[in-house]
Amino acid sequence: MRYLVPLAVFVLLVALLAVGLTLNPREVPSPLIDRPAPAFNLPQLHKPDLAFSTKDMQGQVWLLNVWASWCAACRDEHPLLVELAKQRTVPVIGLNYKDQPDAGKAWLKQFGDPYVLSVADAAGRVGIDYGVYGVPETFVIDRQGVIRYKQIGPVTVRSLDEKILPLVRTLQKQ
């Protein structure tokens, strides 16, 4: 009994710390999940005269991928997005976040353009509306325009296979 209590306290502490180690404090759960995606109307990156509005995607399941030419982690996920675009499973709209349009376009030319189209969020205001706090981020938006999932940081093979694509498929069946 005399040793049991300290031992129990110790075990409890180790358990709590172990759980704490597996959590990622950088991943802040978004309050926007299961909420309507904030509407926006922004000029397109390649055709600045034309605007793109979230309404244009109404009735479709789509991905909104936040990217920038200055973002190093975007290069990691980019080949996966290009691959995804080839399979034509789901349309991906790019949100070119706080970038120079020319730099953005050059970047897409170099690494490939997986996007149906990209919009230029030069001031980062739409980014704020979407609670973006790091690039890249990817949102899964359903037919009704509701955000169903947010990938914080680069998309990986694992997150695509285990989370994003299964979710996209179920949403497309609805």
Binding site: P25, R26, P29, S30, P31, L32, I128, D129, Y133, G134
Partner: protein, 182 residues
Amino acid sequence: MTSPPPMRLLQDQPLTGVRPQINASLKVVASIVLLIVSLSLAWAGEAVPTDQDPVRAQRAVRLAEQLRCLVCQNQTIADSNAPLAVDLRTQIREQITEGRTDGEIVQYMVQRYGDFVLYRPPFKATTALLWLGPALLLLIGAAVLARNLAVRRRRQAAAPLTDAESARARALLAGDGKKDRA
């Protein structure tokens, strides 16, 4: 690699009559520099942009100090120089100018980034342990302390000294206990 400058330079200077003159001219130069600096400081003080009145600026700072920067998570938006923090500070200032209340601005941030942006998280089911935890630990500590004290008191009351023991204690206190020490 450069060698350190020779330290004896000052000592090597010959003591001549030139020095007082140098001192005098140095003083003049120094006072001119001081004058320029203080003038420019005064000038800078007047030239601070006052696109907003100080009360509003104060409000913006106070709000920014309550909000956590999501990029460098242990800094407030007021402290951080991350681009996002700069943008959010601009947002706060704009919304104050638009006449929004503090509550509305905080609400705006929470809607986008969640309770995580608040340095003072609200009390809800998920944060109950956070808020009540310290008080709970204090209560547990107090209970353990009270129990231990009670046990000790009972033990003292239950075990008074026997006659022989108290006689020996008296002898020891009187300084007659040499053989015990050996």
